[in-house]
């Protein structure tokens, strides 16, 4: 159950986001919308990586599949409302297809298989010019319309993305609270034990992977109309690694971890522009340092500190008696 503080925090955050368009200029609002899109994708990856414990390195690729599907279908005259569910479904199915062979064998192969698959997707986006426009990409992707109302302006589209983010977040929270969530955690914590207690490892692993991919599909479907122009670059391996870092830096297996992680990876660099490319370098090395000292991510800071403190206290208490014994 949610605590009062949790509810109050959520209400406050939502109110701030609802009010944000009134205070932000075009670029600021665009960034905030982009952040929400990344949050959706990272929430999905957190399910795969943080809750089910799988290494998935193809998230940007799945996001690309979502974005290209929507862009291509809308260019062909289909509605966004038909294109986006199809895009999400396609990502889900691709997630199942790529997960299956790797899982039949060994879990850590999934990391390599997904990395390679991402490479293959980028090659496809780049080479199949007839479909994807190759390196020139697809331009002038329209924003969706509903009953004659177009989410054309930046604020209406922001509210639309915010709504989808909240719905996607609530759906994920419900999934994690259901017995499925427990099965995911069981398979992350101890796959051997999980199997001996009737948890179908293959089925749950594939589902966590495919649902994660579907979330990337949602993000991609929103990304295309947000930026109006897509090309292969944002869907490459580098961004897949960045997605993984977002989840891990924020705190993998913590619901708000990816929300924080996406902010650090996307919003913070905007304010640290003077750092330019160095920012990513710092980000990468910070992730290394974090794995050494704070493997649970930023949101685990308090717990890690408390644990260290209780250990210190225990030591301090143990020392005098130990000295006497000696």
């Amino acid at each position: 159950m949610m605590s009062k503080q949790h509810l109050a925090f959520l209400a406050l955050a939502l109110a701030a986001l609802l009010a944000a368009p009134a205070f932000l200029k075009t670029y600021g609002l665009y960034l905030l919308t982009l952040w929400l899109v990344y949050v959706i994708a990272a929430l999905g990856l957190n399910l795969t990586v943080g809750y089910a414990g799988l290494k998935s390195l193809c998230h940007a690729g799945f996001m690309g599949v979502g974005a290209y599907t929507v862009a291509i279908m809308m260019k062909a005259g289909f509605s966004f409302w038909l294109a986006s569910p199809l895009a999400i479904l396609l990502c889900f199915v691709l997630g199942l297809l790529i997960g299956f062979p790797a899982l039949r064998v060994q879990l850590h192969y999934l990391g390599f298989a997904t990395l390679g698959f991402n490479l293959l997707l980028v090659l496809f986006f780049r080479n199949e010019e007839w479909l994807t426009g190759g390196t020139f990409g697809i331009q002038n992707i329209k924003r969706p319309e509903l009953f004659g109302f177009a989410f054309d302006g930046n604020a209406p589209f922001f509210y639309f993305v915010l709504l989808i983010t909240v719905v996607a977040g609530v759906a994920l929270a419900l999934l994690l609270r259901s017995p499925w969530g427990r099965a995911f955690a069981a398979l992350r914590d101890n796959p051997i034990r999980a199997e001996s207690t009737g948890v179908n490892i293959t089925a749950y692993t594939l589902m966590s992977f495919a649902i994660g991919a579907a979330y990337a599909g949602i993000a991609g479907a929103l990304f295309a109309p947000l930026v109006n122009f897509i090309e292969p670059a944002p869907f490459g391996i580098a961004n897949s690694l960045l997605f993984l870092m977002m989840v891990v830096v924020g705190g993998s297996g913590r619901f708000y971890g990816p929300v924080l992680g996406a902010a650090i990876a996307l919003l913070l660099p905007e304010y640290l522009r003077f750092l330019k490319d160095w920012y990513l370098a710092v980000f990468g090395f910070a992730a290394v340092a974090m794995m050494i000292w704070l493997p649970g991510g930023l949101l685990s800071m308090r717990e890690t500190w408390l644990l260290a403190k209780s250990k210190r206290d225990a030591k301090r208490q143990a020392t005098p008696s130990g000295a006497e014994a000696a």
């Binding site: 293959l120 780049r126 080479n127 690694l241 050494i292």
Partner: protein, 291 residues
């Protein structure tokens, strides 16, 4: 036919280079349980070290030696001492994430601190070609093949025939028994990191003329090395050689006869086929599940 032979030869040469990166990757995994996702960047860094050396007017051989020394110090000792050692006991996932972070960090440092552009890189063996029974052969291919082949064979001999090499293998197979036998486990593990550091420096020397020195050149090389290692057998160091050569040859042939656009996808498809049919790789030995 001559085309085919030419492709085959250059494929074997490229494959032998992949094999070196793959070999280092397997050795690290065996000895220290480290899956190094930054292996590609470990190839990229010595390439830039040599480039900087060249820009100071050093001849290529001298720049190479400097790069090897730096590589052993930084990618061997510092990497082990500061990153791998403190993470002992945190599990494979933490190491994977850390090396991925390292990969991002190293790429960005080179991009921000040096250049985002690709730089041409001289070949040790020159640009000339010669004709052999109607087949055009480049000195670079032959040289790369010989150099890489010698490295791999030399390493095999070292691992199998010398006391130190055998001790390293013992550590890789069973750390506890090795320690009980009085082997200096820490030193052997360091040797493994040092050997990997030398291997990546040689890989950089041989592959950069074709790949060009670029901050993200490691993406491709790292991936090929992973796949070659797994195709050949993750727990077998001869497997890395076989896997590398298979990947090199097949992607060269596929690039010429099927489609050049998807050349880089060949390794992935091979990998998928191999893990479905022979999960432990072509030369790997089956591992029983630990309960």
């Amino acid at each position: 036919m001559t085309d085919f032979l030419q492709l085959l030869l250059s494929g074997v040469a490229t494959g032998a280079i992949y094999a070196m990166a793959a070999l280092g990757f397997t050795l690290l995994w065996q000895a220290a349980g480290t899956i190094n996702f930054a292996q590609g960047e470990f190839v990229m860094l010595p390439a830039f070290a040599m480039l900087i050396g060249l820009s100071f007017g050093l001849p290529l051989w001298a720049a190479f030696l400097v790069a090897v020394v730096l590589s052993v110090a930084v990618l061997g000792a510092v990497f082990k001492r500061w990153i791998v050692d403190p993470m002992r006991g945190s599990g494979v996932v933490a190491v994977v994430v850390a090396t991925l972070g390292l990969s991002i960090g190293l790429k960005s440092v080179v991009k921000a601190g040096y250049s985002a552009e690709p730089h041409p890189f001289p070949s040790v063996f020159g640009e000339e070609v010669f004709k052999l029974a109607g087949v055009t052969v480049s000195y670079a291919d032959v040289g790369a093949l010989l150099f890489a082949g010698l490295m791999v064979l030399g390493l095999q001999t070292f691992l199998n025939k010398t006391v130190t090499g055998r001790a390293m293998q013992a550590v890789a197979q069973n750390t506890f028994s090795a320690e009980a036998l009085g082997i200096n486990v820490k030193r052997m593990i360091f040797y493994t990191f040092a050997i990997n550091a030398i291997l990546v420096a040689v890989t950089a020397l041989l592959i950069t003329p074709t790949y060009l020195a670029k901050f993200d050149m490691g993406d491709n090389i790292g991936l090929k090395a992973f796949f070659a290692a797994i195709i050949g057998g993750f727990n077998n160091s001869r497997g890395a050689l076989l896997g590398g050569v298979i990947v090199g040859v097949l992607e060269n042939l596929a690039g010429a006869y099927l489609t050049p656009a998807y050349k880089d996808g060949v390794a992935l498809l091979l990998f998928l086929v191999v893990i479905l049919l022979k999960p432990d790789g072509l030369l790997g030995t089956p591992q029983e599940r630990k309960v």
